[in-house]
């Protein structure tokens, strides 16, 4: 079931984080090849590979790059979103620590495609060790003159805020402001960091770029489904026997992925699974034959998001699990839009009351009503993410919530 490793190919090499190890495994050959290609040819190759953003939104990467205005003559920035924070996701931490040069090579190639001379890597503030590892790799790349010769990289540390993983919140933060998302349009490709056209890509997404250039779009596209190429790194945690990060084709089913992670632990009987990070709608035990690509999950009424899979066995209390997430959303709402700021707070209070045994049965309809009314009314996707769990946990496990409510 394990597909060929594309992203994790170097993880088991000794000192895989160093430039000498990366080079001895053929690293930076894709960059040499990319230097002989026209920028538009690089973008075309990535378009044909069917690479889709692996940070959460699943937007076609090559298409995103092509939104940079052709007539623009000023600076263009490449920003790497390494603000990993989606509950249940830990893949970018592995890439930053174990294969930082793959990201640098992906940035070099991407920068050529979008004609950028300056890149920023925004790493979440809590990731101190990944930040040190990646900074050391950047230093090596400067010494090897891979960087500093037409493309520079600034490594930027965040300071603790989930919302900065949202791409325009990230840009606000990079500009030295609180991480408030910005109204779109204009999209970052038109007006992004410091007011200039900017491409924001996730770590894992950019790590796919060197193999695509080296081995070709057709090969990469062939690893996945019709609408999404490649493999991806699934973060699997919760009640499984072997939690960890698993790289496999995006055509794998959730059932197969759970088996890959050793099967269900705890009682051994599956109750529910979060397929794509905390903000994805929950799936019940009989909904796990979904394929784990962007469209497979979308068609099943949930989302693959960041591919953070959280498994719950029969002993897990779904209302308690929702309370954990509701507290998270209330804490992390940036406060800019009223529906999100108010609803996340009040829904946490209501779920708390239910879990404490003081809930009323009509609280459940109130939660659903509040959640559904707010969807699509806010500046960014944060609240649309929050209502994924609010609605799905209550609708799919209503009996469990009602059992806790006062008669």
């Amino acid at each position: 079931m394990m597909a060929e490793l594309v992203l994790m190919r170097n993880f088991d090499r000794s000192n895989s984080h160093t430039i000498s190890s990366y080079r001895s495994a053929g690293g930076y050959a894709a960059w040499e090849k990319a230097k002989t290609l026209e920028p538009a040819a690089i973008t075309d190759e990535v378009k044909k590979s069917n690479l889709r953003g692996l940070g959460g939104a699943g937007f076609p990467t090559g298409m995103k790059w092509s939104f940079i205005p052709k007539t623009h003559t000023g600076p263009v920035y490449l920003v790497v979103n390494a603000d990993e924070g989606e509950p249940g996701t830990f893949k970018d931490r592995y890439l930053l620590e174990r294969d930082p040069h793959a990201l640098i090579e992906g940035m070099l190639i991407t920068a050529r495609a979008i004609r950028s001379a300056l890149g920023f890597v925004y790493i979440r503030g809590e990731y101190v060790e990944p930040w040190r590892r990646f900074s050391a790799a950047v230093k090596e790349a400067y010494e090897a003159r891979l960087l500093g010769d037409g493309f520079d990289v600034v490594v930027h540390r965040g300071a603790g805020a989930y919302i900065c993983g949202e791409e325009t919140g990230l840009l606000s933060s990079l500009e030295g402001k609180k991480g408030w998302p910005k109204i779109k349009p204009p999209f970052p490709a038109i007006k992004g960091a410091f007011g200039q056209p900017t491409i924001v890509n996730n770590v894992e997404t950019l790590c796919c770029v060197p193999p695509i250039i080296e081995r070709g779009a057709a090969w990469f596209a062939g690893l996945g489904t019709k609408t999404q190429g490649g493999t991806r790194m699934y973060s699997v945690s919760g009640r499984v026997k072997k939690p960890g990060v698993y790289e496999t084709s995006v055509s794998i089913t959730l059932r197969q992925l759970i088996e890959l992670a050793g099967g269900v632990s705890g009682t051994g009987r599956l109750k529910a699974v979060v397929p794509g990070g905390g903000s994805a709608a929950i799936l019940t035990a009989d909904e796990i034959d979904v394929t784990m690509d962007v469209d497979g999950c979308k068609n099943a009424g949930t989302m693959i998001g960041s591919a953070g899979v959280i498994v719950m066995d029969e002993s897990v209390s779904i209302p308690e699990a929702l309370l954990v997430l509701a507290r998270f959303y209330a804490h992390e709402s940036c406060g800019q839009c009223t529906p999100c700021r108010e609803s996340t707070g009040w829904i946490e209070k209501m779920v708390h009351r239910i879990v404490d045994g003081h809930g009323r049965k009509d609280d459940l309809d109130t939660i659903l009503d509040v959640a559904k009314r707010g969807g699509g009314t806010t500046i960014c996707a944060f609240y649309d993410g929050a209502i994924g769990p609010y609605i799905s946990y209550v609708e799919k496990f209503r009996g469990e919530f009602e059992a806790l409510c006062r008669p």
């Binding site: 924070g85 830990f90 931490r93 600034v154 603790g160 991480g179 939690p243 954990v324």
Partner: protein, 160 residues
């Protein structure tokens, strides 16, 4: 806790200028410089905010708005060590609340507080993205994974 005079050394000021030069607008260096300020002065007091604001030509109110938005900037003195236990979903499923209660009992403080001797600030925090090793916590710069009460005790013993 006494704080040194709120002023960077000449080397630090050179570093501030270097950081400011990395961004198309100097303001981009605000978060990194606030990290530096916290490392130097212990926490980001109103006085520190005003000092940093001066280095950027920003109003202190702007810096205050930034400092209060992010969780990693402390506006009050913190312990010599910060123990931040993840209590998001995967860690919750692995017993994070038991770990938190154990640490509260051992340290004699509630989450969010600092021990009287100023040794440890205990926090409950959102997902630190090490869910494969739940329950886990961050102790200063390091991630401590696959926690048990015994392991927590050993970690606490080593914090001076």
């Amino acid at each position: 806790m006494t704080i040194a005079r709120v002023e960077f050394s000449s080397e630090q000021l050179a570093e501030v200028r270097r950081l400011q030069g990395l961004y198309p607008d100097t303001r981009g260096a605000l978060l990194p410089v606030l990290h530096m300020a916290q490392d130097t002065f212990g926490y980001v007091s109103l006085e520190v905010e005003a000092y940093v604001a001066g280095l950027f030509g920003l109003s202190p109110a702007h810096v205050h708005e930034v400092v209060t938005f992010y969780t990693l900037y402390f506006q009050q003195p913190k312990g010599r060590h910060v123990v931040a236990v993840c209590h998001n979903l995967s860690c919750h499923l692995a017993g994070a609340q038991d770990i938190l209660r154990h640490l509260e009992a051992r340290l004699g403080v509630q989450r969010g507080a600092t021990t009287e001797d100023g040794r440890v600030t205990l926090q409950a925090v959102e997902c630190l993205c090490a869910c494969e090793a739940a329950p886990m916590m961050q102790v200063d710069d390091r991630y401590e994974m696959n926690l048990t009460p015994d392991k927590c005790d050993r970690i606490l013993r080593d914090l001076r």
